[in-house]
């Protein structure tokens, strides 16, 4: 049995019509208890990847193991060990949250005696205790997502798949879901999370895989990915543009300065960011230069995405 919670080797999904690849040659390994963020724009292949891993799609090539089981050879064992919350929270609006949890319990073979306490616990955890007996049609989008998460967790799966769990959610619902994902990680649950939100991947994921055009183009911890793009820099705004040549000269003792986009500013590449701030203030002050503003700018996952794909993910997500 592979030691990883999820392992894929050369995983592909090719649609016969048109012969296009939705997922192409993806190799990845997710450790138990890890939150793995799958980041990419719409149509990149994130949902197809999830559908392959949760047995909803048959791979065209390659292998995939989830919770130690081959998704093609032993799909039933895979299904018994995973929790799934797909992109559209497909929940009957005419049923109550508690009724849906009960149904999900039966589908997962949970003993009858355990159903009610487990449902109560999960409803409490996702903040739906009060709304548990209301029909889902009365729920907000955030409440539906949280119920979807509770349903995915009813059988305490070892691997949880969340396909864009916070798309379209208000900030408070998003934070609630994030805290639940963190809590699950702390309990040892492996979480495979797809998202098109940079901040979500940055905040939640232990490691991030960037997918574009069906291919995994980069994979590492968010910090390591950002470090691949470049060092942080300090953006300095000057009161007097005439001070720019002197500012460039003196700041060279701290980092690597270059003129900014306006005549009264400069950017200084540094090794760490905030650690060099004090030294920069000191050398500029010693030179009699009046500073209007200073800010540490760190590379973002969008910079990583730009470097790997030539496109901005932030614009895609906003669109």
């Amino acid at each position: 049995m592979p030691p990883h919670a999820i392992v894929t080797t050369g995983l592909e999904k090719r649609y016969p019509r048109g012969g296009t690849y939705a997922v192409r040659g993806v190799d990845l390994a997710v450790d138990p208890g890890e939150v793995y963020g799958f980041l990419g724009p719409n149509g990149a292949g994130k949902s197809t990847m999830v559908r392959l891993l949760v047995t909803l799609l048959r791979p065209s090539a390659g292998t995939a193991f989830v919770a130690g089981h081959d998704v093609v050879k032993n799909p039933a064992a895979v299904r018994a060990n995973i929790g799934v919350a797909l992109q559209d929270a497909a929940i009957d609006p005419l049923m109550t949250g508690r009724e849906l949890l009960r149904l999900q319990s039966v589908l997962h073979g949970i003993p009858r005696k355990a159903v009610a306490p487990r449902s109560d616990l999960l409803l409490e955890r996702v903040g739906l205790t009060e709304a548990g007996d209301k029909r889902v049609g009365e729920y907000s989008g955030g409440m539906r997502r949280r119920l979807d998460l509770a349903m995915a967790l009813i059988h305490e799966p070892s691997v949880l798949f969340l396909d864009e769990p916070t798309t379209g959610l208000d900030p408070s619902s998003r934070l609630l879901l994030w805290s639940e994902v963190r809590r699950l990680r702390d309990q040892g649950t492996t979480v495979f999370l797809t998202t098109q939100y940079l901040e979500e991947a940055d905040q939640l994921a232990d490691r991030v895989g960037i997918i574009a055009g069906g291919e995994l183009v980069a994979e590492d911890t968010p910090a390591a990915l950002k470090a691949q793009v470049g060092r942080p820099h300090v953006h300095i705004g000057l009161c007097d543009p005439a001070d720019l040549p002197m500012a460039l000269e003196v700041s060279a003792s701290v980092g690597s300065p270059r003129p900014g986009v306006t005549p009264s500013c400069l950017d200084v590449s540094v090794d760490h960011g905030s650690r060099e701030l004090a030294a920069l203030v000191r050398v500029l002050d010693d030179a009699g230069i009046v500073v209007e503003s200073m800010a540490v700018v760190s590379p973002t996952l969008d910079d990583v995405f730009l470097q790997k794909t030539g496109e901005h993910l932030a614009e895609e997500a906003a669109a």
Binding site: V54, T55, L56, L57, R58, V71, V72, P75, A76, R79, A80, I82, V84, L86, D88, A90, I91, D92, L94, M95, E99, R102, L103, Q104, V106, L107, H108, G109, M151
Partner: protein, 256 residues
């Protein structure tokens, strides 16, 4: 497989009773047809060749039942198509349950709902002067055969839904319900239908289902049409269920 099938059947029933737009037509539309037919066509019982019966309402009650059960089958198909469209179907097939329980649950719901439907029309009939010639035992036979017919119709609805995947396509089958009904002996005795309807109705399984339901109500315990009704209904259940399972397999052909 039993517990998930029962749970899915319970869910299907619950949703049907919470959707008035699904539930009301099952009772209202056949009731309107029943009222119009018995009000306007009662004198047809005097036509030469019309079987001897205590009243036209007795003769028409099974037609209302069959109509209601066919609509229920169509709605079962629409409900399945809606589950596919909404993504609930994906939720079901990522759960560790036998996939046959998806079909079985819907068929259980159809059978239970049919008891309510058939009982409703029996009560309506009795209130307006109909009699069940075969007595209480005959009413039980009608309930059982009605439930089995509902299972057959629901299986047909599901077979269509798995192929169509869209509720609107399943809904488009609505006119065929009436075409099949009118080309059977549900509304009129086969002997009184003109050509080619008489020939078609002889091959139409619905004729045997309707006659099987009609006999205990209108004529008493005449076993030949009753047993033919059960046999044909059983055969339709087998064929339609195989088609539904084949449709499910086809629907899941891209899944693992």
């Amino acid at each position: 497989m039993i517990a998930p099938s029962l749970a899915l059947g319970q869910r299907a029933l619950r949703l049907t009773f919470r959707r008035p737009q699904f539930l009301i037509p099952l009772f209202l539309m056949p009731s309107i047809f029943l009222a119009v037919n018995t009000g306007g066509l009662a004198s047809t019982t005097r036509l030469p060749g019309f079987p001897e019966t205590s009243g036209f309402l007795d003769f028409q009650l099974p037609a209302a039942m069959v109509q209601s059960l066919m609509l229920s089958g169509l709605q079962a198909g629409i409900a399945v198509a809606l589950e596919i469209e909404s993504g609930f179907f994906d939720r079901l097939i990522t759960a560790p349950v036998a996939r046959l329980s998806i079909v079985a649950g819907r068929l259980i719901a159809a059978a239970v709902l049919a008891v309510v439907q058939v009982a409703f029309f029996l009560v309506v009939g009795l209130v307006f002067g109909a009699q069940v010639a075969a007595g209480v035992g005959g009413a039980v036979l009608v309930l059982v055969l009605g439930s089995l017919a509902a299972v057959a119709f629901a299986a047909i609805g599901m077979a269509i839904a798995f192929r169509a995947r869209q509720a609107s396509v399943v809904q488009g089958m609505f006119p065929f319900v009436f075409a099949i009904l009118y080309l059977s002996s549900a509304f009129f005795p086969r002997e009184l239908l003109g050509s080619p309807a008489d020939s078609i109705s002889a091959w139409n399984p619905l004729s045997y289902m309707a006659d099987g339901l009609r006999t205990p109500i209108a004529f008493g315990l005449e076993w030949t049409p009753i047993l033919e009704g059960f046999a044909v209904t059983g055969a339709v259940i087998v064929v339609a269920s195989l088609l539904a399972v084949a449709g499910l397999r086809w629907r899941l052909s891209d899944a693992v």
